[in-house]
Amino acid sequence: MDRTGHTTLAEWTTEDDAAFAAAVREFGEQQELGYIGTVPDGPGRATHVRQLPRDADTVILRRPIAGG
């Protein structure tokens, strides 16, 4: 999620190793920029991920939150 609403950074399938490797690189670069990986797990649940899960349907990168 970014200032454009959201941007698709990478797409992969479980069978496509090259696409997944590219997605992992992109994921790592975004983490270095401060983004946090989050996997929505259905209604009311989400999981923080530090590595890109190959089998996840969607991984959303969000900015950190802080008390205002």
């Binding site: 999620m1 970014d2 200032r3 454009t4 609403g5 959201h6 946090i36 989050t38 996997v39 929505p40 797990d41 209604p43 009311g44 649940r45 989400a46 999981t47 923080h48 991920v49 530090r50 590595q51 899960p53 959303i60 969000r62 900015r63 950190p64 939150i65 802080a66 008390g67 205002g68």
Partner: protein, 225 residues
């Protein structure tokens, strides 16, 4: 796969106490007692002055005004956590969506993503009121662009939290989506990272909320009751 159910942001606030249901109940009682402490003396002084010396009525009325104004200011502070942030706030009435889209070109896209994260009823409520309703173990949350309200089970107390995504240039719906995802990862961690701003009766907060947002608080109270 390395996963975690703890918010990584907790590392930035290691000194904070765990914010669980017990902590929230205690904090609500403290706020209640605090409200009585600064209200009752002013009421007693005001009534006493008028009763003892009618000529002191203006001073007595001033004391009574203090007893009314100070709790109102605290409630205003609480309600302000979910007040839309500028420049969206400048466009409260008709055309608000158009103004938000102008100020934040990514808002329609962000609204779509947020809608995907919410259920049907919550999506409709968010579009009407600007607040996203999320049920949690601590109560029912209402998430705004820069803060959150937590309606405790039973619906008799509202806790107001200041919390936001660190990027201030995000579209309004994206800011809510950030809070929603963080809340879903770790509800208690979310409450620890957020700054507690106020706790009090829902009607006190509702009076100071923008009218458009009040149905969201009513829905949350209904769900928590």
């Amino acid at each position: 796969m390395a996963t975690s159910q703890a918010l990584p942001e907790l590392a930035s606030v290691p000194w904070r106490q765990p914010t669980d249901a017990r902590w929230l109940r205690r904090w609500a009682r403290i706020w209640h007692a605090w409200t009585l402490l600064y209200t009752v003396p002013f009421i007693c002084a005001g009534v006493g002055m008028i009763w003892l010396e009618p000529l002191a009525t203006p001073v007595g009325l001033a004391a009574l005004a203090h007893a009314w104004i100070i709790p109102e200011l605290y409630a205003f502070r609480g309600a302000s956590v979910v007040r839309p942030k500028q420049p969206r706030a400048s466009a409260q009435a008709p055309g608000a969506a158009r103004c938000a889209a102008t100020a934040f070109p990514g808002e329609p896209v962000a609204q779509g993503l947020l809608g995907d994260l919410l259920g049907h009823d919550e999506r409709e409520l968010q579009r009407d009121t600007g607040l996203a309703l999320e049920r949690g173990a601590l109560g029912i949350w209402l998430l705004g662009e820069g803060g959150a309200l937590l309606v405790s089970p039973g619906g008799r107390r509202v806790h107001c939290f200041c919390v936001r995504a660190v990027d201030r240039e995000l579209p309004p719906s994206d800011r809510i989506a950030h809070l929603l995802l963080a809340l879903r990862v770790d509800e208690e961690g979310f409450a620890i990272v957020a700054n507690h701003a106020f706790a009090g009766a829902p009607w006190r907060v509702a009076r100071r909320m923008p009218p458009r947002m009040r149905p969201a608080l009513a829905a949350a109270r209904q769900g928590a009751g």
